[in-house]
C-alpha cells in the first residue's frame, strides 16, 4: 500500500467511525422514544 493509499484508508476509517457513532447514538435515542411512546399508548 502506497503512503497516499494509507492516508486515504485512515481518512475513510475515521469518517466511517464518525458516521457509525452518530447512527448508533440516533438509534439509542430512537429506541428510547419508541419505548416512551409504547408506554404512553399502553397506559
Amino acid at each position: 500500500m502506497t503512503p497516499e493509499q494509507e492516508v486515504e484508508l485512515r481518512r475513510r476509517q475515521r469518517s466511517r467511525s464518525r458516521i457509525t457513532a452518530l447512527l448508533l447514538g440516533l438509534f439509542v435515542v430512537l429506541m428510547f422514544a419508541i419505548s416512551m411512546a409504547k408506554m404512553v399508548i399502553n397506559q
Binding site: M1, R12, Q13, R16, L30, I34, A37
Partner: protein, 307 residues
C-alpha cells in the same frame, strides 16, 4: 504444511473500505423519496391517529427497507449497470466498493428495517415490508428483469407496497383503500417505465435487458402504455367512486387522470424513433412522477380536511 509467502506481484491489492457516501448511493436515495412519500401518505390516510414517534419510525423503516432493496438490486446487477451510461458510475460498476460489502449492507439493512418495524408498530406492517423487499430482490431483480419484457409489469408490485405498509403500520390491518393504492402504483409503473425505456432504449439494449421497446419495438410499447393507462385511470378514480374518499381526492384524481390519458394518447400516436424526437414520451415520464405525488398528496389532504 509449508506456507509460501506471496511475492508483491502475486498479492491481490486490498480494496479500500467503501466511503459512506457510496453506501448511501447504494440505497438509491432519489427512488427512495417517492417510496417514502407514498408510504407516508398511506400512513396519514389511514383512519385513527398513530403516535408521531411510531409513525416516524414506520416511515423510517419503509425508507430503510427501500434502501436495502436498492442495495441488493445493485449488488446483483453490477454487471449490467457497468454496461449502461445511466448506471455506470454507481459504486459497484465504478469499482469503489466490493460486491461483498454491498451484499452485507443490503442484507443487514433489510433485517434491521423489518425487525424495527415489527417492534415499533406491528407484525402485519413488518410482514408486508419483508414481502416488498423480497419481491423486489428475488422476483423482480433476480427472476424477471433479465428474462422477460413483462419485468416491469410484475416487478412494479414491489414499488406499490409502501402505501399498504404505511396503512398497516397505522391500523394493523389491510382494507380496500390500501389495496386500491397498491393497484394505482402497480398499474402506474408500466406507463412510467416504458415511457423512460423508449428514450433510453439503446442503454437497455446494450446491457441485454429485455425491456419492451428492445424486445417488441416502439410501436407495441406505445400501444401498451395507452392500454395500461386505462386500468390505472379506473384504479385511481375508484377510491372516490366507491365512496372511500371525499370530493377533494375525487376532483384532483379526475383532473390528473384526464391529463395522464391525454399524454398517453399523444405517446401512442407518436412515431419518432430517435430519442431527441420523443418529446411526448419525455413529457409523459416527467408528468407521471408529478402525477403520483399530487394524487397521493390529494388523498392525504382529503383525509385531513374532510375527516
Amino acid at each position: 504444511m509449508t506456507v509460501i509467502p506471496l511475492t508483491p506481484e502475486q498479492a491481490v491489492p486490498q480494496p479500500l473500505p467503501a466511503d459512506w457516501r457510496d453506501l448511501l448511493a447504494l440505497t438509491k436515495p432519489r427512488v427512495m423519496s417517492l417510496v417514502v412519500f407514498t408510504g407516508l401518505c398511506g400512513l396519514l390516510a389511514a383512519p385513527g391517529a398513530i403516535n408521531p414517534v411510531l409513525g416516524f419510525t414506520a416511515v423510517l423503516c419503509i425508507a430503510l427497507g427501500a434502501g436495502a432493496a436498492g442495495a441488493l438490486n445493485q449488488w446483483y446487477e453490477a454487471d449490467i449497470d457497468a454496461l449502461m451510461k445511466r448506471t455506470a458510475n454507481r459504486p459497484l460498476p465504478a469499482g469503489r466498493m466490493t460486491r461483498q460489502t454491498a451484499l452485507h449492507f443490503g442484507v443487514g439493512l433489510s433485517v434491521f428495517s423489518v425487525v424495527l418495524m415489527g417492534l415499533a408498530t406491528n407484525y402485519v406492517a413488518a410482514f408486508w415490508l419483508a414481502v416488498s423487499i423480497l419481491f423486489y430482490v428475488l422476483v423482480y431483480t433476480v427472476w424477471l428483469k433479465r428474462r422477460t419484457a413483462q419485468n416491469i409489469v410484475i416487478g412494479g408490485a414491489a414499488g406499490a407496497f409502501p402505501p399498504l405498509i404505511g396503512w398497516a403500520a397505522a391500523t394493523g390491518d389491510v382494507t380496500a383503500l390500501p389495496v386500491l393504492l397498491f393497484a394505482i402504483i402497480f398499474l402506474w409503473t408500466p406507463p412510467h417505465f416504458w415511457a423512460l425505456s423508449l428514450f433510453v432504449r439503446t442503454d437497455y439494449a446494450a446491457a441485454g435487458v429485455p425491456m419492451l421497446p428492445v424486445v417488441a419495438g416502439n410501436a407495441v410499447t406505445r400501444r401498451q402504455i395507452l392500454l395500461y393507462t386505462l386500468p390505472m385511470v379506473a384504479a385511481a378514480i375508484a377510491p372516490w367512486a366507491m365512496g372511500l374518499t371525499g370530493w377533494i381526492y375525487g376532483t384532483v384524481a379526475v383532473a390528473l387522470n384526464a391529463i395522464f390519458l391525454w399524454l398517453a394518447v399523444a405517446v401512442s400516436i407518436n412515431q419518432a424513433s430517435e430519442p431527441t424526437a420523443m418529446v411526448p414520451e419525455k413529457r409523459l415520464f416527467k408528468y407521471s412522477i408529478l402525477y403520483l405525488f399530487i394524487l397521493f398528496g390529494a388523498l392525504v389532504a382529503d383525509r385531513l380536511v374532510l375527516a
